[in-house]
């Protein structure tokens, strides 16, 4: 049985191919002008490496914002379900996923089979997304990559009071003008960011309801300071995934494809 999952996001498109329950290949490209083109190109690239053709696919499921338009996929499923399913397959003890990207933040609870139990999402406000960290690191005059380690260098993280990214940026500029240390401000920023994600997760009771492991995905997962603060807030270890987290959506879609194939086609 050969199945595929395809994830067309706003910045990248991903395709992943599974054969008999094992990943045989995947690929990631930057998006083309239309979701249809992105899907076609990334699937072709992934297939090429395996020597397979489109006709060899038994079932394909699509996800991501362009998921409805892909003609070779037989079903489309929300990226939240796929993301949770993919992460759970990588590490079956996972029950909670927090995905913090450049434009949104999602908290996901999955059951013992990887099915979506509950979720919360913020895509309305830049506070609590990667954009917040981008804005603040620019105000601090440091690279985004330098921000995370500051948590481990500071003995006195400063509290960032304002939630709105625009006003928090001012707050940081005033702190700098007062002569406060970049290390302490940066550590405070990581703390504030973790607090936002924790609040979102708490809105679906992820903090109390966590029955297994917790992972954090998305660009902000690379910030070790945010991760450290989240571990403190959740009072739990945050585990990492054995595969590129970017591919979780496509992986989850392929897993759904396998499930639908078994249910609809093979009987």
């Amino acid at each position: 049985m050969i199945v595929a999952g395809i994830d067309v996001g706003s910045l990248t498109a991903k395709a992943l191919i599974m054969k008999d329950g094992e990943i045989i290949d995947f690929d990631i490209i930057t998006v083309r002008p239309t979701p249809v083109q992105s899907a076609g190109d990334v699937m072709e690239k992934a297939l090429n490496k395996t020597g397979l053709k489109m006709d060899d696919l038994d079932y394909c499921v699509s996800t991501g914002y362009g998921r409805e338009q892909i003609s070779f996929s037989r079903k489309s499923i929300s990226e939240i379900s796929c993301h949770g399913m993919g992460a759970h397959w990588c590490r079956p003890s996972i029950r909670g996923v927090i995905d913090i990207g450049g434009q949104d933040c999602k908290a996901i609870i999955v059951d013992k089979d990887g099915n979506l139990d509950n979720f919360a999402m913020n895509d309305k406000c830049a506070a609590g997304t990667g954009r917040f960290l981008e804005i603040i690191s620019k105000a601090l005059g440091i690279d985004l990559a330098e921000l995370g380690p500051l948590t481990f260098k500071s003995n006195n993280p400063l509290k960032i009071v304002r939630r709105c990214s625009v006003f928090a940026e001012y707050e940081v500029i005033f702190l700098l003008a007062e002569g406060k240390d970049v290390t302490d401000i940066g550590a405070g920023v990581n703390e504030a960011m973790a607090q936002r994600a924790f609040s979102l997760a708490s809105s679906i009771n992820l903090n109390n309801k966590l029955t297994g492991e917790l992972t954090v995905t998305g660009g902000v997962a690379k910030n070790v300071g945010v991760i450290k603060n989240l571990e403190k807030l959740f009072d739990a270890e945050i585990v990492s995934l054995p595969l590129d987290p970017q591919i979780m959506g496509a992986l989850g879609a392929a897993l759904f494809a396998r499930r639908y194939y078994e249910k609809e086609v093979r009987v």
Partner: protein
């Protein structure tokens, strides 16, 4: 007649007045910059020199605004609630008014007050930059325009490019995408003016509309925003012959006189 000084310390600008009784003797606006304490001190000194008066002649000092609590002065000063000063200043600027809408750099405030300028009901929005002057500044910078020109530019539009993001950060990316898809600058600006007017109107409706209403704060200088708010809440703002930015400082000065 007693002299008093009122200062309104905002996120972007510090506004100050010297008053003799009910009359303005001098007024100063300064950029807050990154050192509000220094800017406030400079504003104070310039007020004294513009009014040609020594500090011992000032009987009352009132300060309000975002920065007031964080600053200290070497003379007795009344720290006054923003909304109290705003209502007092509005009543002074337009004696028949009973309601004021103030849109500043980081706060939108709406207050109803009685014939003495005492606040009866108010609402404010200071958690989110949408619906504040800061929103307009970010959008104008993204388009390479001066914030003071947004009103005029927007009024030349032939259509409205609606901004769907409420968040200033996301709205900034959104308008850049409209530039890239070939939308005209004036049509995008029209959408920006409409967007902030919608946020402010929501706050006005929470307080409940009352005739005899004025609009103050830096954003009151944007005619297009003012017209949109008038359409949305179905009211006409009264004219008054004072710089709309100065109302809070005037209110601070008057309130300090009375305490």
């Amino acid at each position: 007649m007693h002299f008093s000084i009122g200062m309104d310390i905002g996120l972007v600008g510090i506004k100050g007045v010297v008053m003799k009784g009910e009359n303005i003797v001098a007024q100063v606006v300064k950029d807050t910059g990154v050192r509000p304490a220094l800017a406030a001190k400079e504003c104070y000194e310039q007020l004294l020199s513009d009014a040609d008066i020594s500090s011992d002649k000032i009987q009352a000092h009132g300060v309000s605004g975002w920065g007031s609590k964080t600053l200290s002065f070497d003379f007795d000063i009344e720290y006054l609630p923003d909304v109290v000063c705003l209502a007092k200043g509005a009543k002074w600027a337009c004696p028949t008014s009973r309601m004021v809408v103030d849109v500043g750099a980081q706060t939108a405030k709406v207050a109803r007050f009685d014939g003495n300028g005492s606040v009866k009901k108010y609402e404010l929005s200071d958690k989110c930059a949408s619906g504040t002057g800061r929103f307009l500044e970010i959008m104008s910078a993204a388009l390479g325009l001066k914030v003071n020109n947004l009103g005029q530019i927007g009024q030349a539009a032939s259509k409205l490019v609606e901004i769907s993001s409420q968040c200033s950060v996301f709205a900034e990316s959104e308008i850049i995408s409209y530039v890239n898809t070939g939308e005209k600058t004036e049509d995008i600006v029209n959408g920006i003016n409409y967007s902030i007017a919608k946020r402010v109107s929501t706050i006005i409706m929470r307080v409940g509309i009352q005739e005899d209403i004025i609009i103050t704060g830096g954003v009151a200088k944007n005619d297009a925003v003012v017209r949109y708010i008038e359409e949305m809440v179905k009211v006409r703002f009264k004219d008054y012959g004072v710089d709309p930015q100065m109302i809070g400082a005037i209110g601070a000065s008057l309130t300090a006189q009375q305490t």
